[in-house]
Amino acid sequence: MSGALVFATLGVLLAPLGVTAQQPVAGRLSGHVDASVIAAVSALADSAAARGLPIDPLVEKAIEGGAKAAPSERIVAAVQAVFARLGRAQQALQAATNQPTTPDVIAAGAFALSAGLQDSDVRNVARACGAHCSPAAALRVAGTLAALGVPPAETVELVRETLRAGGHDRDVVALPVRVEAQVARGATPAQAAAGLARAAAAGAPGHPKSPDQGPNPIKP
């Protein structure tokens, strides 16, 4: 067997390994955005994969940009912003737990950042969660609370007090609905969150147990 034949055979066998990280991204974006965006997002996805960051949020943001007919450079900028938030979330979470984090938790942290929380808030929510709850769920709840208009400090406090009072995932997950209920009664989001946090800290009867509100939140 000649040397050239051996190397050609090895090349054919090994070549797919080098393109597997990029091919699915290009395939998912094909038909949604133009070639320049596909190339840019594929490069970002490669970087994300190398750093242990999730790729799906990048692809989804690019598809969203294509659906909204945004200019190519705007789409790339939006995807870069998502990439940056994922990196910040990863660093904040690693600082909180001193352990590698999963892509799902990182994506939840990035969502919380996009909703207006700061890196330190992400860190504090993850620390408050500890081993007692799902950090991804807690971070998504924190992001949703921030998106509802609850200030970051009150958001972190509400999640922390709920968990400190012995609350579990289902209690944390119920927080946005409980805040919305208080807002519907006339409270501001900050007042609603602060009131719920005080009640949890005081161990008020019924706290942190949430009212039976059915398993599936219906929006709106």
């Binding site: 989804e60 659906a67 909204k68 789409i75 998502v82 996009s114 991804a136 398993p215 939140p217």
Partner: protein
């Protein structure tokens, strides 16, 4: 100069025919050929030191590991498998058990595909008086604005649609008349990175961790 011998003379030299069996006119040629052949020195040729030189070269090449491995790659390998028939039965049983285990632990499409993301019906409502078309698009439908059109409800200007949304957290927006993206006024919103805001919906299944 070469001279071709008669085929019968060649057979005589090979010992197949006796001289008496040859025609008389070939006797002289046969005797001449026999005499010439007898003069040839048939002693084996010996080259002093040839074997030792060849073996030394073989050993020298065999000492280079890279060459040895390279040669192994190129040379055909002979693999001998000796099986006792009674061994085949447990081997086949083990292979069947492995296949069963793998097919059971990796759900495929069909009734066993319980790992597929569970979906929950979510009712979307938008008040958009004067609109001709409204649809909802989001991360749950790849932002496909044609996938989930809203229909006018009984009340004037109210559009609704019930959409199966996979469990998890999603961002979405309404598209009004195919050109205007509108966030849901009844849901929390986040910056979409394109100058507008997306609404956020969190869908949980009964008994499962939400968000």
């Amino acid at each position: 100069m070469t001279t071709a011998l008669h085929p019968l003379v060649k057979r005589f030299l090979d010992g197949e025919l006796r001289l008496a069996a040859l025609p008389t006119e070939l006797h002289a040629e046969a005797r001449l050929a026999e005499r010439l052949l007898g003069a040839v020195d048939r002693a084996p040729v010996t080259l002093p030191g040839l074997e030792s030189r060849v073996m030394a070269e073989v050993r020298r090449r065999a000492r280079v590991p890279a060459r040895r491995w390279w040669q192994r790659l190129g040379d055909p390998w002979e693999i001998r498998v000796r099986l006792r028939p009674w061994i085949l039965a447990p081997a086949l049983a083990a292979a069947a058990a492995l296949v069963l285990f793998l097919t059971r632990s990796q759900p495929t499409a069909g009734p066993v595909a319980v790992a597929a993301p569970e979906s929950v019906f979510v009712r979307f409502v938008l008040y958009a008086p004067g609109a001709h078309r409204v649809s909802v698009a989001g991360s749950f439908n790849q932002w496909d604005a044609t996938a989930a059109p809203l229909a006018p409800s009984g009340a004037a200007g109210v559009w609704t649609a019930t959409v199966a949304v996979p469990v998890g957290q999603h961002q979405y927006a309404f598209l009004v008349d195919g050109r205007r993206w509108v966030s849901d006024p009844g849901a929390p919103t986040v910056d979409d990175g394109f100058g507008r805001r997306n609404s956020v919906v969190s869908v949980a299944a009964a008994g499962a961790r939400a968000l």
